[in-house]
Amino acid sequence: MAVEIPEDMELVYSYPESLTKVRTHYCPGCTHGVVHRLIAEVLDELGVRERTIGIAPVGCSVLAYYYFNMDFAEAAHGRAPAMATGIKRVSPDKVVFTYQGDGDLAAIGTAEIIHAANRGELFTTIFVNNAIYGMTGGQMAPTTLPGQVTTSSPTGRNVQTAGWPIRMAELLAELPGVAYVTRQSVLDVPAIRKAKKAIKLAFQTQLAGLGFSMVEILSTCNTNWHMTPVEALEWAKEHMVDYFPLGDTKMTDAVRALKEGK
């Protein structure tokens, strides 16, 4: 690009090294792209890209290994925490993270995430919660809100028959092996900045060997919610945040000391 940059201008944002230049297959306005970018920026800032191994899930982000500029493995549906356990135990010097959606982590992979967290495995999980099964066509997920219309709950989620949405961040916070669990969102610019700080603290928790860390991120699926990208952000702020409150659900004293030391 032959654009001349005036000498008195300084670079304040540029493409993160931890992302490849591959264009993503995500729908226009999908917040997966934002979450990918935040992880990449954090890994760049921590200078650990070359010793990071990511685990891709099944779901919309199944092709995440094309987009991150680092080693990646693809797990069977929901089994990313089991794979991450193996990789981290064999290579404890690597930085290991799983990237999972709500269908992957809170439905088929519930057992894996609970036991990995309970064992206090030293990896980080990034959990993207958009309250729907995106890839398969917008069916009801465990995180779908009460009354929310999806292709498999056309009259809205009935909690009498389908149960209540699972609050994973609160669930995992109960487990002693867990060092840091927080729920953040990428629904507006201040929230995105906060989410990035949380992702950074989660990776720092791993680097310091303090225990399992997870960042749940409230996200959108404008395609299957049948909204524009901007409307989807507003809908999530209005409805999702009530049921899934933002904030830290668990922070051990060691993680707090790490955070305040920065």
Partner: protein
């Protein structure tokens, strides 16, 4: 003189409009009557002189379309 400057990687843009919704000086819009290599109308800057280099567009962009520059503060430029 503009306080900031954005460079738009047009072929990455999917025309989702999230950047347009957060730009505090309202200088972003989608192109009319032309499309990028992916078939989307890419985002454009309507008034480059008004850009403050706040990087809010880059912060919300899911497709890393923006590179942002900001004019150095005078004291920093002198140092």
């Amino acid at each position: 003189m503009a306080r900031g400057m954005v460079i738009i990687d047009e072929d990455r843009c999917k025309g989702c409009g999230l950047c347009i919704s957060v730009c505090p000086v309202h200088i972003l819009k989608l192109a009319e009557g032309r499309f990028n290599a992916q078939g989307y109308p890419p985002v454009e800057v309507t008034d480059p002189e008004a850009c403050t280099g706040c990087a809010m567009c880059a912060t919300i962009c899911p497709d890393v379309v923006f590179t942002v520059y900001r004019r150095k503060r005078r004291s920093a430029a002198r140092a």
